[in-house]
């Protein structure tokens, strides 16, 4: 027997609930409110099956009322429902448009690297398996990206210049969309320099890693003479006519390095908007750093040879793995967005539920 008194409880509680917030309502056969709950003895003698039937009928009643009244049945639990006052806030609409998942597509071209940085978020090193995405998959991703709403492609590794076909990989991207290529800038010699020179200067930005204005800090994390070679790479790329961004990974206790570093970059000719400073994430080889979880991190859709990941900073962390199917890319982006919405809604509910005292 359906319990219409539940609707009275719900309407009263929603009236005292801010729009956008939720209430949880007991819909079990023994729920308070209305005539159906007034006979406790009959409720206790009801069979489990009839109790389940009554709870289902109550849920149906609440669902029909929500549909008719413009409120949202946010969640159905075993013996209760969660109802939101009004329509849910769209977590995607609350983001800055540039943060919308899928605005950028990150691709890990490979995982092997000529360096073994002690804070590398994906544990790259000369001994790491290549796990290359391959030019065919990169080209197909780039093909699908524009239609899927992607506005920028970002290629990273590992060290992409270890790949013998990095110029083809980059060309498959720059012919479709503006592209950024992350590199340590240390390998611009011989055949690799020729590959760099074949890249489209109008459509490609090179993002070169450099951590400090002097060699000490940079080399302490990345290895001897790494700073000198990276700075050489920056100068060469600028001389070749490329747009160059510089990205520093800075431990929290090195904030005093920022001022001399930005001054140094200005001296190199790096524009202010092309200077990026990142925190160390506790991922990969890093034994400390910022803790990043899928429910606390706005996703940046990332593709590796293994599949789709939540964010490039955690592309070897199983808890950030989204799906093995890369194609169609639009489905992968939709999957990430849907998961983001679920995480945000769960966080909102937890915030509403968490008592202050």
């Amino acid at each position: 027997m359906v319990n219409h008194g539940l609707l009275l409880d719900l309407v009263e509680r929603l009236a005292a609930t801010p729009v956008g917030s939720t209430v949880e309502l007991d819909v079990s056969a023994s729920a308070a409110g209305g005539a159906a709950a007034s006979d406790a003895s009959s409720a206790t003698s009801a069979t489990a099956a009839s109790r389940a039937e009554e709870a289902a009928a109550n849920i149906d009643l609440i669902a029909r009322w929500c549909r008719a009244s413009g409120n949202e049945l946010a969640e159905v639990r075993a013996e209760s429902v969660v109802v939101r006052h009004g329509r849910r806030r769209d977590p995607l609409a609350l983001l800055d448009p540039s943060q919308l998942p899928g605005t950028r597509l990150w691709m890990y071209t490979n995982f092997d690297c000529n360096l073994r940085c002690d804070y590398c978020c994906v544990s790259s090193s000369p001994q790491t398996d290549r796990r290359a995405l391959g030019v065919d998959r990169v080209a197909r991703l780039a093909d699908e990206a524009a239609d899927a709403g992607v506005q920028e492609l970002i290629l990273t590794g590992g060290e992409p210049f270890l790949l013998p076909d990095i110029d083809e990989v980059v060309a498959s991207c720059t012919t479709r969309l503006p592209t950024t290529l992350l590199t340590n800038g240390m390998l611009f010699r011989g055949g690799r320099l020729e590959r760099l020179r074949r890249m489209d200067r109008d459509r490609l930005t090179l993002q070169i890693s450099l951590d400090s204005a002097t060699p000490e800090l940079h080399d302490a994390h990345r290895g001897p003479r790494a700073w000198e070679r990276a700075v050489g790479g920056i100068r060469l790329a600028l001389d070749e006519g490329f747009d160059v961004k510089v990205a520093a990974t800075l431990p929290a206790d090195q904030a005093h390095e920022v001022a001399p570093f930005t001054q140094f970059l200005g001296g190199l000719g790096i524009r202010p908007e092309n200077r990026v400073i990142r925190a160390i994430a506790h991922e990969g080889a890093a034994d400390s750093g910022v803790e990043l979880t899928v429910d606390s991190l706005i996703p940046e859709v990332t593709v590796t040879a293994e599949g789709v990941w939540w964010h490039p900073v955690a592309a070897t962390d199983e808890s950030h793995f989204v799906r093995a199917e890369i194609f169609p890319l639009a489905d992968a982006i939709a999957d990430v967005r849907e998961r983001f919405i679920r995480h945000r809604e769960a966080a909102d509910r937890a915030a509403e539920w968490f008592p202050c005292s």
């Binding site: 309407v11 609930t17 009244s69």
Partner: protein
Amino acid sequence: MSDTAEPLIIGSVAYTPNVVTIWEGMRDYFATTDTPIDFVLFSNYGRLVDALIAGTIDVAWNTNLAYVRTVAQTDGRCRALASRDTDVVFSTVFVSRAGAGFDGIEAVRGRRLALGSRDSAQAAILPVQFLREAGIAAGDVELLRINSDVGKHGDTGRSELDALRAVLDDRADAAAIGLNTWEAIARGDIMAGALGAFWTSPEYSHCTFTAMPSLSDERAEAWLANLMAMDWERPEHRAILELEGLRRWVPPKLDGYRGLFEAVAAQGVSDRW
């Protein structure tokens, strides 16, 4: 739009947390006009009317009973400015158990009728007046009065929901509630298996913005022009209008308060609460 104009101060009763959202939205809207506003929230209509008469606020967002009382306390010097479209077609609904066989207001004779808060025009004061007009004397019906949230004139709806609970729990045979509460619950035929409306009153007027003569006609008219310009078709306006329960602002319908004036006089409802 106006950086220098002195804001008009609007008073309202905080009967739900959403009142803050509504008035912040209204303040944002009027900030784009030449008649900016600010707002003050009160815990009950007695305090709101006191503040209007004392000049602490320029305009009060009054229930029908608060308007009637303002008229009574100011010898009619106050002025109704505007109402919601839903306010000028308000009514009271008598509800019984589905299948109870009630077919009109006469059916409550000799039965138990649940009423809402004693200061609720729609769920207490006017229902008694409707019974009186139908020739049903005080002794002809057993009234179950549910006085919850007195001071808010039934705005919370709590007493009306309690009146419906009384019907479902067989503590009353019928309940008198406002049309807005009935529509909020019934939503078509959702309550068809449990409750049904068997009588609806003639339409009367509900809330209205009320001002004292100290608010000049010029300021009032300029503000009203901007109020009436709120447009349901504009999403930024609609969000506020939906929360406040209207599609458009309209001039007040003063005829619609006549029944409440008579009821207040007949029942000896005091000028203050």
